[in-house]
Point group: C2
Chain length 256, copies 2
């Protein structure tokens, strides 16, 4: 393991936020770690160790600190005293091509990447697993209960991660279906997921076909799986549904 | 209006429970009314008037005081200070044939009734609407926000009620589909429902086909409609899903 290289640290209303990089061979994995502001910094003291950790996968064209990722992370820290971590997706955030003028990728960019790079899923799963291991080495974070939260691209990458990483004991997934370039991979991984899952779909999703989403929900191996469908398009998940995902993860992680 | 004939009153941990009968022509409609134990009895003082009212429709083979109806009613009274009311279904509870030895109907009994009596839905909708009007005359209850909660038979009867009664402003429905003897009636009424709806389905429902349930969710006219699917059979709705229905109704009724 290369270990984590800690960067800038800030604190906002009781939430400490620390940037980090993990170097995995040639790859740089830029991430961010959130913890209660009154806790010790990772590596300094052990009091973060028993806290549950939520891994958050951002959406296509977003990044590790996009608005809703920040909001979700801060809810877990403030309301439950958990830790949270996010990393940039492939070519997203601080992994984007420095030649590109825009800070955000377009959804078309991600779609092309998903289409063209067969190693994308495996490399992202490996990134996440090394980050999880390195956080554990660096203060013991993540040795307690671990949950995953990720929709859309956060499910394209996160579903294989949850299937592969047995330390993830509960997941929020959705806004995705049995479709796309990695359809077969997703279909093979879904039955391997046996931890509790809350799965979200939007009835009028313009990016992912509703029936393909229902099929992915059915393919999950979890005995405790729940489907929540709301009306509206891909980005119209209601605010109180975010609260429901928080309750679902917190209930399982606090009991773990 | 014939008005309500009030019967026995009991009180349990802050919840007052009063039996009533409403006489509508030849029909006797036996019901029960729950209110906060510290509130005035209907007709005595006006302080129940502004409280939200939840109408609860029980399931096939059950009755107005079956365990989960009591539990739902008491939650609304205790947690939110609302009032609640339930009436026996057709040939259920105190409307059952006195010749029958068993207190409970079998599901087969209800299925036969649903099949054979074309007036069942209209008569039950009329029963509910007169009860709602009579509660309003008798202390002003139900002049504030009104919600409906009913699954399975509680949706077979409740969906037409919610479509017909404009004072119902929010509903929890489910465990039913576009199927059965009243399929066409349900299909015609569903688009007329425009209040917010939380709709529940069980993925492995042995009584109602899942796809027919999805079709009924799609047929609802409500702009704000949510679908929650849980695994398991018809009676396996998880306990925390009942809590979700409570939150959903309370959020809308408290804002109303």
């Amino acid at each position: 393991l290369s270990g984590l290289e800690w960067g800038a640290e800030t604190s906002t209303a009781g939430v400490r936020e620390q940037l980090f990089d993990l170097h995995r061979g040639e790859r740089r994995v830029p991430g961010v770690f959130w913890s209660p502001g009154d806790g010790a910094a990772p590596g300094a003291a052990g009091d973060l160790a028993p806290r549950p950790l939520v891994l958050i996968g951002h959406g296509g064209s977003g990044h590790k600190r996009q608005d809703y990722v920040l909001a979700v992370a801060r809810r877990f820290v403030r309301h439950h005293g958990f830790c949270a971590a996010a990393i940039d997706g492939p070519c997203h955030g601080d992994r984007r091509d420095p030649q590109r003028s825009s800070e955000r990728l377009s959804l078309l960019d991600f779609s092309q990447l998903w289409q063209s790079d067969a190693t994308m899923t495996d490399e992202m799963v490996a990134d996440w697993r090394e980050v999880l291991a390195a956080l554990g080495d660096d203060g013991g974070v993540g040795r307690g209960p671990v949950g995953y939260w990720g929709l859309s691209m956060g499910t394209i990458i996160g579903l294989p991660l949850v299937a592969a990483e047995e330390r993830v004991g509960v997941a929020v997934l959705g806004l995705m279906g049995l479709t796309g370039p990695t359809r077969e991979r997703i279909a093979a991984d879904a039955p391997r997921i046996t931890c509790p899952v809350l799965f979200l779909l939007q009835r009028d999703d313009e990016l992912f076909n509703y029936e393909a989403g229902l099929a992915l929900f059915d393919a999950l191996g979890a005995a405790d799986r729940r489907l929540h469908v709301n009306v509206g398009g891909h980005v119209d998940v209601p605010a109180d549904e975010f609260a429901a995902t928080e309750r679902f993860l917190a209930r399982h992680l606090s009991a773990g």
